[in-house]
Amino acid sequence: MENIEQRVKKIVAEQLGVNEADIKNESSFVDDLGADSLDTVELVMALEEEFECEIPDDQAEKITSVQQAIDYVVNNKK
């Protein structure tokens, strides 16, 4: 669990070019971390690669915060 959280935050930091220390679980990608719509698409792509899964578009649209990304990975890991 801890591990997934760290991996998600690392990806968010890399993709959005923000400091890992500034990323909180409740951080919203767009409102708090300055992501634009293209960034959020890329973020989902990066999560798919990191966790070797395919996130359907209707699910991807609902992942708008760090916690939601963590939850998705936890609930859908193989």
Partner: protein
């Protein structure tokens, strides 16, 4: 060799303008994968590319088939690396007067010339976004700007690609991906060989430069848009038409 280390995908590369583009991008140093619609054409194209000393090969990819497109892009990525230059060149005509045009003629042209350009572009976008660079070059037509009797479907498809390119240019610019069009006029290819001598001479009479264009004339414009020198050019159209239509 300005395109050294780049992987270019050229759709509809078996003849005419597409073939000339494949050769020119290779001459500029790119690894070139040309698509053909069936095995026989792909085999012939592979031979021709090989004879010309091109690094790369032909693959079978029907641009109308999403599965084939995805599989082909996957294959190219595994074999050569991510596609950095996409040239959407494959296209068809089904000419008819509007009052006689069948739905099938309309749909076939829109499917191949417009939707397939979107389909293939979407498939290479992921790789280009990750690479933070990319060039999408769409071969359109002078008639998409000027109109032409008997080609409502073809003109609509080409004008559609022009609008789509502008939209993609804006959408992808922040990732350093440029999207442009090259609009050929009357080029000496199989598509225009069907015209008789009289039709040809009346066409040429409307071309200020006084000749039909050659596929190489179009290929040179595509090569420019693929080159590092065109890095600040996006969302536009280069007309290669001998002056027959001035935007």
């Amino acid at each position: 060799m300005p395109l050294k280390g780049q992987v270019a995908l050229v759709t509809g590369a078996t003849r005419g303008i597409g073939f000339a583009i494949a050769l020119e991008l290779a001459r500029q140093g790119a690894t070139v994968v040309g698509t053909a619609i069936n095995d026989a054409d792909a085999e012939r194209l592979s031979g021709q590319l090989g004879d010309a000393g091109v690094v790369g090969r032909a693959i079978v990819m029907d641009v109308r088939d999403q599965e084939q497109v995805d599989a082909a892009i996957d294959l190219v990525e595994k074999e050569y690396g991510a596609v950095g230059i996409l040239v959407n060149n494959a296209g068809i005509t089904r000419d008819n007067l509007a009052m006689r045009m069948k739905d099938e003629e309309w749909d076939a042209v829109i499917e191949t010339n417009l939707k397939s350009v979107f389909r293939v572009s979407r498939a290479v976008m992921r790789g280009m976004m990750k690479a933070r660079t990319g060039r999408i070059i769409n071969v359109t037509s002078v008639v998409g700007h000027a109109g032409n009797p008997g080609q409502a479907n073809y003109c609509a498809s080409k004008a559609g690609v022009t609008g789509m390119s502008r939209s993609l240019a804006r959408e992808l610019a922040s990732r350093n991906i440029t999207v442009n069009c090259v609009a050929p006029g009357f080029i000496d290819t199989d598509m225009t060989k069907v015209l008789d001598e009289k039709q040809r001479s009346s066409l040429v009479a409307n071309v200020p430069l006084g000749r039909l264009g050659q596929p190489e004339d179009v290929a040179a414009a595509v090569a420019f848009l693929a080159s590092p020198g065109a890095g600040y050019v996006t969302g536009t159209t280069i007309h290669v038409n001998g002056g027959m239509y001035l935007d």
